[in-house]
Symmetry: C2
Subunit: 333 residues, 2 copies
């Protein structure tokens, strides 16, 4: 009588394939997030880590390690590491974003939240490094510490690229690598390396994570203009209002005539935005085909992710990783 609910997405199917490993990661996260001395730490992180979320990044590490035949337990530590780095990044993004959103609210609250977010984020970064050091694997340490630097550099770059009409696609790629792809590729490559995979396999899994992350982020940036309901906590036009130089804007600017350039200069460059500007921006983008070409670029990266899996052992994990590449852009087609 109890027919199981249909398992629908590749993420859910990977979660099912790797359920015992994911339980181990969840335990590790709970144990290492705790602080005997500072109960505020689990308070602050509970809603981020405890809520579960998709936990896509640790899943990538586990999948990569198992796909490479790993039968040890260090991959659990690395999976928890990438989730801690991700959560720390979210906390620090909070400081930046929430501040802007809450200008009307009392300063004391805002500052208290900022303090907690910064310091608890730092704590999670430190815990992440402790966890990865415990594996004693220097190549893995190299991969993850490099990723941390690319992430931070990308965030700073995003800050300075915002509202700057000279931002080109090269800078945009660096920003989204920092924002998303660097941790995806480190997650998959670290899983391969801890499993003792050879260089070809480790590189293939790195490239898979890189392409997957880029496809994912371009899709997200496109949906900020095309709109959908499945992007948690974000609304159509958020990037526009924050004057972000995302790919649809960069491409619309590349083909802009003088009047359009003046428009972008006013709304993005100067931040002088009025009623109807978002609709105008979308009409300009549609006219130049920059929404369609952005979608095509996302699909190309998804195809690159799928192709990168070529050298890897055929089986259920590889199949789901391939489907995952299509899944992250499925919202676009």
């Amino acid at each position: 009588m109890n027919t199981p609910a249909p398992v629908e997405t590749p993420v859910e199917r990977l979660l099912a394939l790797l359920a015992p490993d994911m339980d181990g990661v969840a335990r590790l996260i709970r144990d290492r997030m705790a602080s005997q001395h500072a109960p505020r730490i689990p308070e602050v992180t509970a809603h981020l880590v405890g809520a579960g979320g998709k936990r896509l990044r640790p899943l990538l590490t586990l999948a990569a390690a198992r796909l490479c035949g790993y039968d040890g337990s260090d991959h659990l530590k690395l999976a928890a590491t990438v989730e801690f780095i991700h959560t720390a990044t979210l906390l620090h993004d909070d400081v930046v974003d929430e501040s802007a959103r809450r200008r009307g609210r009392p300063t004391a609250n805002l500052l208290w939240d900022n303090k907690s977010s910064v310091l608890v984020g730092d704590y999670l970064f430190a815990r992440a490094f402790q966890l990865m050091v415990e594996t004693g694997n220097l190549r893995v340490l190299d991969i993850l510490s490099n990723a941390a630097a690319v992430i931070a550099e990308g965030e700073v770059l995003q800050l300075t690229a915002a509202a700057n009409l000279d931002t080109d696609e090269t800078v945009y790629l660096q920003v989204i690598r920092g924002k998303t792809a660097a941790l995806f590729s480190a997650a998959t490559e670290a899983g391969a390396v801890v499993a003792g995979a050879d260089d070809v396999v480790a590189l293939a899994l790195h490239d898979y994570g890189d392409a997957l992350g880029i496809a994912f982020q371009i899709a997200d940036d496109l949906l900020d203009y095309r709109g959908t309901d499945d992007r948690l906590g974000k609304n159509v036009g958020d990037d526009f209002r924050e004057r972000k130089m995302s790919l649809p804007v960069i491409r619309a600017l590349a083909g802009a005539d003088e009047a359009e350039r003046d428009f972008w200069q006013r709304v993005i460059g100067k931040g002088d935005q009025r009623d109807g500007d978002l609709a105008t921006a979308m009409a300009i983008m549609t006219r130049h085909g920059s929404l369609d070409s952005t979608r095509d670029t996302a699909l190309e990266h998804a195809a690159r992710a799928r192709a990168a899996l070529g050298p890897l052992p055929v089986g259920p994990i590889r199949s789901q990783l391939a489907d995952l590449a299509d899944f992250v852009v499925a919202r676009l087609v």
Copy 2:
């Protein structure tokens, strides 16, 4: 004719003894702080790292390594690592402190500064981890990643201990270990370990750094009430106004009668501070001898630092480290 200027402090004498090493560290800091892609990073850090400052922490690592007979170059990387961690901490403290100080200023500026401080701090943390991973020394990685966790935990603890009259000396010690002593002790211990020192020597240098850092921080907390001009950028009463539970307050509270307890509850617990309250606080502390007993505790830790040097080779570096222990509390006597 050119008589050299008298070299006065143990820090200056250590800088002279280790001048070529310190030049190497300065070069490494300059090279690794640079970001090809995000010029904002050196802009933000220039006034912190470029100004030179005392660079006490990298000096401790270099001194420890040389004292243990090290003749390699990995100690330069570790010295740069501890300076990066320290600078990142300062940047993140800025977010917390400057925000509070600048309430009257335009929000946009404040947010921009906050964003840069958080993200550039994260970049420096990541660069610090890259540098230490390059040494390939897992014991050193263990020491420094643990220190990073203690630092972050101590900062969170300080946040929750502020304005909390139940804060005791145990919590206070944890807070100042996080704030100061954990990085001092990691700096000296890492120097010993990279030099291949045996466990007794490594522990001795750990204990030296721990005691030195605690003496230094207690002295600083005491001077916040006793006052002096040589504390850069801080004014008498800052901790009082920020409702910090530092050692002089904790000890005054321990012996407080009911009226005094009500006073502390109002000014620290509730933050209801009026003209003359700081003077009243200092009078109460003087009456209970809590300023004198705080000074004695600082002197005890300085003596512990000096004593910890027992197992180490006699010579100019050990002499200067011993004098440094007295120097950090010399402002108090």
